[in-house]
Symmetry: C2
Subunit: 233 residues, 2 copies
DNA sequence: ACAAATATGTGATATTAATCACAAAAAAAG
DNA sequence: CTTTTTTTGTGATTAATATCACATATTTGT
């Protein structure tokens, strides 16, 4: 019985955290994935993947939260997005030029799966439905990222901070009370403003009763107003 | 002989402007594409596709140049990129939610091909190699766009204008002498600055001998310096 | 528990680039 | 070939936000 439990945890077929895409694979293909993938654990703060490295494996985030970012020497860090569990990391890089374009670091303890890229590619070529699911996920990701960037560039600091709070509320935590998984500096890097400006606006929102704020804990008090600020820039 | 020429122009198999992806289809599949697609012509300035519309057909740009942009009422126009021939328009929108997220307008007279989306989708599902090619093209597009946005947001006006000039030189025209296909306002919309600022910087570059400029014609005189300005922001 | 290191908050100042208000030039229309 | 419309260029002004320079918390390590 004990060995059976271990076995369940170790096959993709029985994995609770299986991806939407892998769900369309047949038993044989899933078995292939099982024998060509490797689970691993990372502690909060650890780097999962570094930009510039060659993609030797696909990484699938089974549990936990990570940041997707770029940090070039001399430049300030830019956070593209916060990545939730059940997501493949760096797919566009794999299909683009096989060099990772973004870095990923764990914001919480994470469970990840390394998957062999050659097997991953052959699955795409031999199973159109799998390919289709991957296309859907990369397409949505692209639309979301570009959408966020486009809007950001039209907005002033108030609108951007409002956006960030709504992003954590609606996309990441799906609730209006949460604890930010990132520092003020990182929040600023996520929305492309200075740390000081981000801080100031958060405190302004607090003093105006739009949010309640204590350290990294935020509760949205006046959602309508926050959305209005996000809209109007 | 005359009819043969006509026929050649009208089948995908003999199309000079066939996409990389379609090139991996077999004869039968190409025949299917031929009978489910329709060529069309657009004049400079015409809108090819409007954001918010439902994707009823995939559009493939056979010849000409177009701009990919977003224009919401009240907001200023944002140009995402200039699209060259041999490109599918709006693929991420098709796989995302079937609503077009971007608009496209012809910057030159264009020849386009409307392709039925149901057939396109079934080709992806039944031909993994085709799917793979589509994945490559959407992935590269996504990386390029996000790369451009990320760098832009770190740069001041000088760096952005330099970027735009280099973009037309290296990506669009592949030469250091070209005529801008867009107005000053559109150039500003492409790099996210005001028209006045864009104009001022262009003139500054001209007066410093970095480019020669007459109306919309640009020749890059000092490429090294221009690249340095692009790098240093 | 204490010291050191790191993160956060705050005011003053500087800088950048947008906006405004026109003038000039170029393109389109008649 | 004019007249009208659109695009482009230019100076002055304004507004937004980054930067700097610290003070104050908070976290981490010993």
């Amino acid at each position: 019985m004990f060995t059976e439990v271990i076995k369940k945890d170790n096959t993709c077929h029985d994995c609770k955290d299986i991806s939407c895409a892998a769900a369309v694979l047949n038993i044989k293909q899933l078995g292939l994935v099982t024998s060509n993938s490797q689970e691993s654990f990372l502690k909060k703060g650890e780097v999962i993947l570094h930009e510039g490295s060659l993609t030797s494996h696909i990484i699938y985030l089974k549990t936990g939260l990570a940041k997707e970012y770029i940090k070039r020497s001399g430049e300030k860090e830019q956070i593209l997005q916060i990545v939730k569990k059940h997501t493949y990391l760096g797919l566009p890089s794999l299909f683009g030029d096989r060099i990772n374009h973004y870095s990923y670091a764990a914001l919480e303890d994470c469970k990840i799966c390394y998957i062999d890229i050659n097997m991953f590619n052959s699955l795409i070529r031999e199973n159109g439905n799998f390919a289709y699911e991957i296309l859907i996920s990369t397409s949505r990701d692209s639309l979301n990222n570009i959408n966020r960037f486009l809007h950001r560039s039209q907005k002033k600091v108030y609108g951007r901070v409002a956006d960030a709070i709504l992003y954590f509320s609606k996309i990441i935590y799906e609730g209006d009370k949460f604890s930010l998984p990132i520092s003020r500096q990182e929040l600023a890097d996520l929305i492309g403003v200075s740390r000081e400006s981000a801080t100031r606006v958060l405190i302004k929102f607090k003093s105006e009763g739009i949010i309640s704020l204590k350290g990294r804990s935020i509760t949205i008090v006046n959602m309508d107003l926050l959305e209005q600020i996000s809209q109007k820039g």
